[in-house]
Amino acid sequence: MRALEYLRAPDTATALREAAQPGTRFLAGGTTLVDLMKCGVERPARVIDITHLPGLDEVTVSDTAIRIGALAKMSQVAADARVRTVAPVISEALWRAASAQLRNMASIGGNLLQRTRCTYFRDTAAYPNCNKRNPGSGCAAMDGLNRNHAVLGASDACIATYPGDLAVALVAFDATVRIMGRFERVVPVDQFFRLPGDRPDLEHDLAPGEMILGIEIPLSDALRRSHYLKVRDRASYEFAAASAAVGIALEADGRTIREARVALGGVATKPWRARAVEQALAGKPLNEAVIRDAAAQAMAGAQAREHNAYKIALAPKVVARALMSAGGIA
């Protein structure tokens, strides 16, 4: 590990000022940053501990939105009774992520920025060429063991999967990220995450020196009737083979889908909103056949590499089951 300077910021202004220096990283729960420092992917010269910033760990639920501070812990949000009532998908996505120990440490802001588990990306000694680490240097995963790699949103430069769960739920429900830098700005989560294109090193919209203050999720009927389904070989503590964050709002008849929300995890380079599935469901009766038909569109444009074709078969089934669960017909 590189020797580094450690500062504990007492307030946001100090943190932002100090973060302007190159080679600086914010440290919150440390569950991603320290892990990546151990394998040599992250080599910050300075870390600024932001865990003591006041007022950033709150969860508030109003009549219109849930607001979650960037320093709230994953387990804290997952266990929040109000969140579980108005947005079950948020709580479920958090519960199914990582392990109890990690959820107790990891912050919501840091969770969004969790980096891929691509094993070639993490193995700096054997694979110095990685477009995500060194743009233009190459990609070992493309023709390597890519069972866990993305089938959606990939580019010729990178097929690394976005690993998180929470962000999948956030994109499905039009959540926004509140960011503080030289000024405060609000970005939809869907735009916050970037496609790899030819710059897979640029994963999100956060500029150097900017900090996530929190996220906001607008309340809706679909959010209230929402569900997160995560499918994987191991029953717990594993990244998704495929996951789905879904919500359904019904017409007054209780049988017709007014609005559906669908996003996918574990199969794409970023949290993947499946608008084609949503559109195929709007106005349709809530039944298994309709849902399975619509879910089949989730993989439009998917491209398999040697070992990950199973995700294309699996993901629509995960979407369909999640929708059936949310609709009460699983």
Partner: protein, 798 residues
Amino acid sequence: MTSPLNPELKRRTLVQATMMTGAALTASGAAQAAAPAEANAVRQPVKHGAVGSSLSRADGAVKVKGTARYAIEQPLARMAYGVLVQSTIPAGRIRAIDTAATRASPGVLAVYTHESGFRINRPKRDLEGGAATEVFVPLQDNLVRWNGQHIAIVVAESFEQATEAAALVTVAYEASEALLHPTDSRAHPQPMDAIKAEWGDAAAAFASAPVKVEGVYTTPREYNVPMEPHACVAAWEGDRLTVWEPSQWVGGARQVISEWMGLDIEKVRVVSPYVGGGFGSKIAPHPHVSLACIAARELGRPVKVSLTRPQTFTGLGGRPRTHQRLALGATRDGQLVSIVHEGWNETAIDDTHVEPTNSVTTLMYATPNLSSRHSIIPVNTVNPSWLRAPGENPSTYALETAMDELAHTLGMDPVALRLKNWADQDPKAKIPWTTRQLREAYAAGAEAFGWSRRNPAPRSMREGRELIGWGMAAGTYPVWRQPGEAKIILHADGRVEVHSGGVDIGTGTYTILAQAAAEVLGVPVERVSVSLGDTDLPRAPVAGGSQLANILMGAVHTAAVATRTELLNLAASDPKSPLRSARVNDLVLENGQIRPSRRPTGGVAIADLLKAVERERLEVHRDTFPTGATEAQRNAGNRSFTLMQPATASGGSAHAWSAQFVEVRVDEDFGTVRVKRMVAAFDSGLVFNPKLARSQWIGGMIMGIGQALLEEGLIDPRDGRVVNANLADYAVAVNADVPEIQTISVGIPDLQATPRGGKAVGELGIVGVAAAISNAVFHATGKRIRDLPITIEKLVGA
């Protein structure tokens, strides 16, 4: 007390069954089968602390509190920290290794590479009369034999400094063509003729068999991944070397280290009081230990070397990839007429590991015709090594899956098929079994599981969107035996000490040896303290092959009996003894008191006797060596495998047996398999401590869940790199994967097998689990997966 030779000894089955599963089970399966008279025997409690009682782990509290000191927690002054650099290509030469930046990095004390010129001698392999499990020694040449081979060690004042400096080493390689997969056409299989088996005419019998099944069964590279990574501390005092090493066998480690260093073995001490899991991977020290010893010698400081988790995947080997072609021929009523088997495992280019895929193929069933061959195929890999039930595990996986296929083809119940092909004696050695409670295991397991309610048709059982599958398999593990020593010390203050160099690898050796001593000496078990895992203690063989408990229970029992005799003699003969007027034959030792057998009171406590006769302590040293064993033989027993007796050594064929029953749920859309419940019945002979034996069995079964459904080392076919070399990507079973597990003991004391009648426990637990799960998956889905692990992509849409 029922004699073990009593013809009614099968009743002990029931006693064991209840001891093992506790009160919760008394109303179910095994206990229900008991006749009323026997049911009374079932409830007879074993005396607290005695052999057979369910004592909790003696080392439990210190482990839970974190005060048990593991190898690298040894605090030594002036400790330096070594971090290894591993190769990143699979084959070739190191053209240049640039360590300038490393040497200039803060805190760096030394960098050693092949250019440093330190000699580390080639150790003697296990099969050559030594203890090493690989001949490879690091930094002796510029050759790269596998991806992830140690090529340098960086030593610094702190671990962090050494880690950073190690990352600055740059290596220029001259790559050569690597052989990465055993199926490569350039690979050269080497037949292992010593383990081939042939009788009858297997090929002809198979060709003409009315019913046939045939398949190829493969298992991937699997890793031991103990919680405690491989790490050690080496410290020299003059020309004497002490190594704190998590070792399953301090005697073997001492032998290998002395050979590496060219050092008189008497000058080497190895200490291993606690091991955070080994599962076979800590039987012999691996090459990083030699580098710790070298660095400590050169620097004149203690050096701690800890492999990172990724480095453990190539710093030592796990189970090799295995491949078996297996054909079973049978009559229409299910009688086997032929078994044709051909298997291989991969091994290293310059090293040898044999994972005998036919060890159970030739043992389990009676067949008039059998042919079985096994080969090893060298590829560019770290030498594979032992992982829980090496050989028996993959062998059983293929055989027991094939038997399930045969049962399905015949339309026969899988248990009935196995009983139909019951082997009355060891089919290969053609000698009788010592004990084989496998019928009892089938019966007790099936009863407890509810097997008779199984609808045999695949895909016939479901609940909601889950397909339900019930599968079973048999398992077995041989009884290995190697003599060992123990010492008992009685102190005048009443303390009792048991000493042996054998290691408790988390299995419960500390606990059961205290039970063995307490039982004979009639003292509370809490008063017995056990010291283990140190070459300064009496010589003991490896804690591996499920043998150590049997050996040390024998040695401690013998020592305790001798101690009792000596005490009684002392009481009856010493002029200062309060009991000097008694005859020794009239004295008994009970509840810590020596007293005349006809008098219920008025005894003398052991401590009081020692005080009276002015003895501070009484020391008794005993062993399980044959009478008249020489020092050389005793050392050989401690430092090699040369005295290890095979299962057939006693004139009977001694094996532990099991029957595994499993229910799985398979999601019909996703292909995810979840194990819903497991029931297993074990014949491990006499069980010394039911609670700890159960812990071993369920540990094996849980490991079997990982093997069946999750574990696979992913080897990049381009460069031989293990790409999932960490515990997030190499998935083992976690709590959420583990269902309710019921274990039943059906063993009876087997005194032909071992001195106290125990058989194998720890390794047995995993054997057959993968087959039982795979068979359950077939029953659920109708899909036969012959390639482990059974992951989503193999079943999605099933």
